[in-house]
C-alpha cells in the first residue's frame, strides 16, 4: 500500500468517509420511520381485528435491536476510518 501514490488513495478514502457519515445520519431516520409503523395498526376502537401485544412487542424490539446492531457496525467503521485518517493522513 505504501508504494501507491498517496493522494488518489486519500481522496477515495475521504470520499468513503463522507458516504459513511451520510449513512450514519440516515440510521435514526430509518428508525423513526420503522417506529412510526405502529401508527398504522388498527386499534380495538376501529372494530377490525387489532394487533396482539406480543406481536407488537416483537416488532418494536426487533427494530430496536436492528438499530443497535447498525449503530454498532457503523461506529466500528467510523472508528476504523478515523484511525486510517490519522495513520495515513498526515
Amino acid at each position: 500500500m505504501s508504494d501507491r501514490p498517496n493522494i488518489p488513495f486519500l481522496e477515495r478514502q475521504s470520499y468513503r468517509r463522507r458516504r459513511l457519515i451520510d449513512t450514519v445520519r440516515m440510521v435514526p431516520v430509518v428508525g423513526a420511520v420503522l417506529w412510526a409503523v405502529p401508527l398504522l395498526w388498527p386499534t380495538p376502537e376501529d372494530g377490525a381485528g387489532s394487533v396482539a401485544s406480543s406481536d407488537a412487542i416483537i416488532y418494536i424490539f426487533l427494530v430496536w435491536f436492528a438499530l443497535v446492531l447498525l449503530g454498532a457496525w457503523f461506529a466500528f467503521l467510523m472508528k476504523r476510518s478515523d484511525a486510517q485518517e490519522e495513520g495515513g493522513g498526515r
Partner: protein
C-alpha cells in the same frame, strides 16, 4: 422485623459502598491513574441516569395501566443517541470549546452571555425538576413502606416523612461531598460519574433479575409469557397515534434538555469519541431496561389483588412469592435509580443556581468587585453547597406538600414537557445564526406560560390551583382559552394538547421575535461561534490589558480556581508567550484562555463580567471593535473621496495647463500678428509716402510715370482699406453686432458666385474645381452674402495654399441628419496637426509665409458660420486640406 433491619443494613452498606467507589475514583483521578475512568463504557453508563425510579418502578405501572405506551419514553432518547451525528456531536463540541457548565450556561452564552437569560433558564429548570426530585424521594419512601407492610411493621405518616427527610439529607450530603470537592475548571466529577455508573449496573441487574424470575420462575418461559400477555387486559395494541408520536417527540426533547442529562452528556464528557460508542450502547441499555417491563406488569396483574399499586410490582411480585433476596436486590435497584437521579440533578441545578443567581448577586454586593483580596473559592463552593441543599430540600418540600398522591408517571411527563420548552431555543441557537436573545426570551416565556397553564396547574387537580369553572368555561368566560381546549378544539388528549400548543407557539414566537429584532455584536459573534463550531473552536477575543493588571488577574484567578492551579496556568501561559517569570502579558489570547478557565468554574456570563471588572477601562468590548471597524470604513470612504477629489484636481490642472499653453500660443500669435499688421500697414504706408513725396517733390516726371506712381498709391490705399475692412468686419462679428440679411436661394448659385469671385485675377496656376451640380440643388434660407463670403475665403485659401502641381478642389454636398454638409477638399499637402489647432484663431497663418494675407479669413469664416447657426471645421485625413461647412437644418428647410 428482622428482614426490615437487614434491609436497612443492606442499604447502609450499599451507601457506604457508593461513597467508597466515588472516593476511590476521585483518588485515582487525582493520582493520574484514572484512565479507565474515562472510558466510553463509563460515559454510556452515566447516561443511564435517564432511567430514574420512574423507569424502575413507574414503567411497570405505566405498562399495567396503558400497555406499550411506556416504550415511547425510551424510543425517543434511543433515536436521539443513534442520531448523534446530527445533534449530540455538535452539542458536545460546543460544550467543550466554550467550557459550558450547564444548559443555562449554554443558552446564555449563545445569546450574548446574557445573565438575564441564564437566570430565566435556571428558574425554569428548577421549577421543572423539583417535582421530579420529589418523585424520587417518594419512590424511596413508598418502596420502603412496601417492605414494611410486607413484614407487618407499622410505619406511620411521620415515619414516612422522616424516611424521606433522611434520604434527602443523605443525598444532599453525598452530592456536596463529591460534587463540590474541588472547583475544577472543566467541571467534571469523576467520583459522581463513577458512582452513577455503578448504580446504572445495579439497577439494570436488579430489573433483569426480577424479569428473569418472572419469565422463567413464575411463568413457564417465553411462549407462556407471550400467551399471558395476549390474554391480559393489555393484550391488544390499543394506542392512540397522536400520543404515540407526541410522547416519542417529548422524550427525545427532554433527553436533550433535562439539566441532569445535559450534565452527564455534555459537561462530564471527557472525549467526543465516547459518543460513538454510546450511540449504540445506550440504546442497547434502554432496550434491555424495557425488555421485561411488560412481563412483570402482566404477571403482577395476574398475581396481585385488584387494588394493588402496579407501580411497585417490581417489589411486590418477588415479595409475594417469598423471594426476599430478590426483593431486596430490586429495592436496591430502585434506590439506585432514585439516588443517582437526585445526585446529578442537584449537581446540575446547583451549578446553575450558584453561577447564574448567587454569584452575580454576591459579586455585585461586594463593593470592591472582583479585585478584593481573599479567597472567592470558598464563596463559590459555599454557594454550590447551599444550592445543592436548597434544591434537594425544595424537592422534599414538594413531596411533603403534594402528599405524594398522584401517579408517578404523570409527574414525570409534566416535568418532561416543562424542560422540553428549552428545545427550540437550544436547537435554534446551535443551527441558526439569526436566533436572537429577544427571540429566546419571548419563546421561552410563551412556552412556559402555556405549559404551566395547560399542564402544570390542571395537574394539581381541579379546584385547587385552577377552578372548575376555568377548566370548563375558560378564564373570564373566554371559551377559546380553556386550558385543555385552546381555540375550542376539544377532544385532544390533554398532554398532546399542551405539548402541541406550547411547542408550536414557543417555536413560532421565538422565530418571529428573532426575525424582528437586531442582535448585539456579542450575540452575533457567539452565534457564529456556536453554529460554525466545527470550523473554528475559539472564543471571541475581546480583551486587552496592561501588565499592571496581570497581578490583579492573578489575585482573582487564585480566588476562583485555587492558588496552585492559577499559578500553574499563569506560568504555562507566560512560557507560551516566551517570558521567564510567573506573570504573562495580558494579551487577548491569554485573557481569552483565562476567561474560559474561569467560565468552567463560575459560568461564562460571570467570568466575562469578572474579567471585565479588572481589565475594566482597557477592555476592548465587541461594541468598541465594531465602532473601530465603522471608523475604519468611514476613513476608507473619506480617503477614497479624497482620491477622487485629487484626481479631479489633477484633471483640472491638466486642463489649465492646456488652456495656458493655448493662451501662450494665442498671445504669441497676437504678437506675431501685431508685428505683421504693423508691417502690413507700414509697407503700403511707406510706399504711399515715398511715391507721394516723389510726386510732390520732383517736377520732371513724365505723365506716364505720374500715372504709374499714383496708381501704386491707389493700390496700396485699397490694400490698406481692405485690411482695415477685414479687421472691422471681424470685430463686428465678434461683438455680435452684425445684422443678418436673410434671403432664399439655391446653394449651387451661391457656389457659382463664390467661385467666380475667388478665381478672378491673374493666378499662375489654375485651380481645377470639381463639383456635383445635382447635389447642389438645395434651396437655402440664410444670409447668402455672408455664406458666399465663407465659400470665397475657403476657395481662395485652396487657390493660395494648395501646393500640388495640378491643384484640384473637390466640393461635395451631403444632406443628412438634419444638416447640410459642404466639404472643400483640395489635393495639397494639407495642414499640419499643430497648425490645425490654431488656424481658426485670429491672425494665424501657417508655416512660412508664401502668400500675403493678414490671417483673418478663417477667423471671420468661423464667426460667420457661428452667426448662421452652423460651423466650419478642419476635416483631417482627406489627403489634403479639407474644410467642412455645416449648415443647420433650419437654413436648408426647403431642401430638394
Amino acid at each position: 422485623m428482622g428482614a426490615l433491619n437487614i434491609l436497612v443494613g443492606v442499604c447502609l452498606i450499599y451507601v457506604a459502598f457508593l461513597f467508597a467507589v466515588a472516593f476511590g475514583a476521585e483518588r485515582a483521578a487525582l493520582n493520574g491513574k484514572g484512565g479507565w475512568l474515562r472510558s466510553p463504557l463509563i460515559y454510556t453508563l452515566s447516561l443511564s441516569i435517564y432511567c430514574t425510579a420512574w423507569t424502575f418502578y413507574g414503567a411497570v405501572g405505566y405498562a399495567a395501566r396503558s400497555g406499550l405506551e411506556y416504550l415511547t419514553i425510551y424510543i425517543g432518547p434511543s433515536l436521539v443517541v443513534i442520531g448523534w451525528w446530527w445533534l449530540l456531536r455538535k452539542l458536545v463540541r460546543i460544550g467543550r470549546s466554550q467550557r459550558i457548565t450547564s444548559i443555562a450556561d449554554l443558552i446564555s452564552s449563545r445569546y450574548g452571555k446574557s445573565n438575564m437569560l441564564a437566570v430565566g433558564v435556571t428558574i425554569l429548570a428548577v421549577v421543572g425538576t423539583t417535582p421530579y426530585i420529589a418523585l424520587q424521594l417518594q419512590s424511596v419512601t413508598v418502596s420502603f413502606g412496601v417492605f414494611s407492610d410486607a413484614y407487618g411493621a407499622e410505619l406511620t405518616e411521620i415515619n414516612h416523612g422522616n424516611n424521606a427527610l433522611l434520604v434527602a439529607c443523605g443525598l444532599a450530603l453525598f452530592t456536596i461531598v463529591f460534587g463540590t470537592r474541588n472547583l475544577d475548571a472543566n467541571e467534571r466529577h469523576h467520583g459522581v460519574v463513577m458512582a452513577i455508573a455503578v448504580e446504572a449496573i445495579v439497577k439494570l441487574f436488579a430489573l433483569l433479575a426480577v424479569g428473569a424470575f418472572v419469565v422463567w420462575g413464575v411463568a413457564g418461559g417465553v411462549s407462556d409469557i407471550f400467551e399471558r400477555i395476549d390474554a391480559s387486559k393489555i393484550g391488544q395494541w390499543d394506542m392512540r397515534g397522536d400520543r404515540w408520536a407526541t410522547l416519542i417527540f417529548l422524550s427525545a426533547a427532554a433527553f436533550l434538555c433535562l439539566p441532569r442529562m445535559f450534565q452527564v452528556m455534555v459537561v462530564e464528557n471527557e472525549d467526543e469519541d465516547h459518543l460513538r460508542t454510546a450511540s449504540w450502547a445506550f440504546p442497547l441499555y434502554l432496550m434491555v431496561m424495557s425488555l421485561f417491563v411488560v412481563p412483570i406488569a402482566v404477571v403482577g396483574l395476574d398475581m396481585m389483588p385488584p387494588g394493588a399499586n402496579p407501580d411497585f410490582f417490581v417489589l411486590t411480585v418477588p415479595l409475594a412469592t417469598g423471594n426476599d433476596g430478590l426483593a431486596m436486590l430490586s429495592f436496591l435497584g430502585g434506590f439506585s435509580s432514585a439516588t443517582s437521579m437526585v445526585i446529578v440533578a442537584a449537581l446540575a441545578l446547583s451549578t446553575m443556581v450558584s453561577n447564574h443567581i448567587v454569584m452575580p448577586i454576591w459579586l455585585s454586593a461586594q463593593s470592591g468587585g472582583a479585585t478584593v483580596s481573599g479567597d472567592v473559592r470558598h464563596v463559590v463552593l459555599l454557594s454550590r453547597r447551599i444550592s445543592i441543599a436548597a434544591v434537594v430540600f425544595l424537592g422534599y418540600l414538594y413531596f411533603r406538600l403534594s402528599g405524594g398522591g398522584a401517579a408517578l408517571a404523570s409527574i414525570g411527563l409534566i416535568s418532561f414537557a416543562g424542560v422540553a420548552q428549552f428545545l427550540p431555543v437550544l436547537i435554534g441557537g446551535i443551527f441558526w445564526r439569526g436566533a436572537t436573545r429577544t427571540g429566546a426570551f419571548v419563546g421561552l416565556s410563551v412556552g412556559f406560560l402555556i405549559w404551566a397553564y395547560t399542564l402544570l396547574l390542571p395537574s394539581f387537580g381541579t379546584g385547587t390551583l385552577i377552578g372548575t369553572a376555568v377548566l370548563t368555561e375558560g378564564p373570564f368566560g373566554l371559551g377559546w382559552l380553556r386550558p385543555q381546549a385552546f381555540f375550542g378544539i376539544t377532544g385532544m388528549d390533554p398532554l398532546v394538547h399542551a405539548i402541541f400548543w406550547s411547542m408550536l407557539l414557543n417555536t413560532l414566537s421565538f422565530f418571529i421575535a428573532s426575525l424582528v429584532g437586531f442582535p448585539s455584536p456579542l450575540e452575533r459573534l457567539q452565534g457564529a461561534q456556536f453554529v460554525n463550531v466545527f470550523e473554528h473552536s475559539r472564543t471571541p477575543q475581546s480583551w486587552s490589558g496592561s501588565l499592571a493588571q496581570s497581578e490583579d488577574l492573578m489575585v482573582m484567578a487564585q480566588r476562583i480556581i485555587g492558588a496552585r492551579e492559577a499559578q500553574r496556568l499563569f506560568e504555562r501561559e507566560a512560557r507560551r508567550q516566551g517570558l521567564s517569570g510567573l506573570v504573562p502579558e495580558p494579551s487577548p489570547d491569554f485573557l481569552a484562555v483565562l476567561e474560559r478557565e474561569l467560565a468552567g468554574s463560575v459560568g461564562a456570563a460571570t467570568a466575562h463580567a469578572m474579567i471585565g471588572q479588572i481589565v475594566g477601562g482597557a477592555s476592548v468590548s465587541v461594541e468598541d471593535l465594531m465602532a473601530v471597524a465603522d471608523e475604519t470604513a468611514q476613513m476608507m470612504e473619506y480617503s477614497s473621496r479624497l482620491e477622487a477629489k485629487s484626481e479631479e484636481q489633477a484633471r483640472t490642472a491638466r486642463q489649465l495647463r492646456q488652456a495656458n499653453e493655448k493662451l501662450t500660443q494665442i498671445s504669441e500669435q497676437k504678437d506675431a500678428f501685431l508685428s505683421q499688421v504693423s508691417h502690413e500697414l507700414r509697407t503700403p504706408m511707406t510706399s504711399i509716402r515715398a511715391f507721394s513725396e516723389i510726386l510732390r517733390d520732383s517736377d520732371r516726371l513724365s505723365a506716364k510715370e505720374k500715372v504709374r506712381y499714383s496708381s501704386i498709391i491707389h493700390d496700396e490705399a485699397i490694400r490698406l482699406t481692405r485690411l482695415l475692412d477685414d479687421l472691422l468686419d471681424l470685430s463686428v462679428l465678434e461683438n455680435g453686432q452684425v445684422s443678418l440679411n436673410e434671403q432664399t436661394g439655391v446653394l449651387g448659385d451661391v457656389l457659382d458666385h463664390a467661385l467666380s469671385s475667388a478665381l478672378t485675377g491673374n493666378q499662375t496656376v489654375e485651380l481645377r474645381v470639381m463639383r456635383d451640380l445635382l447635389s447642389e440643388k438645395v434651396t437655402l434660407t440664410t444670409d447668402l452674402d455672408r455664406l458666399s463670403q465663407v465659400f470665397i475665403n475657403l476657395i481662395g485659401n485652396a487657390q493660395k495654399y494648395c501646393d500640388a502641381p495640378t491643384p484640384k478642389l473637390h466640393i461635395s454636398v451631403q444632406y443628412g441628419q438634419g444638416q447640410l454638409v459642404i466639404d472643400f477638399i483640395d489635393n495639397g499637402s494639407g495642414i499640419s496637426k499643430a497648425d490645425q489647432a490654431v488656424i481658426f484663431e485670429k491672425f494665424a497663418r501657417t508655416g512660412e509665409q508664401k502668400v500675403s494675407g493678414a490671417g483673418l479669413g478663417l477667423a471671420i469664416c468661423r464667426e460667420i458660420m457661428t452667426r448662421l447657426g452652423g460651423s466650419v471645421d478642419y476635416l483631417p485625413g482627406q489627403g489634403g486640406a479639407a474644410f467642412r461647412v455645416i449648415l443647420p437644418q433650419s437654413a436648408a428647410l426647403a431642401a430638394q
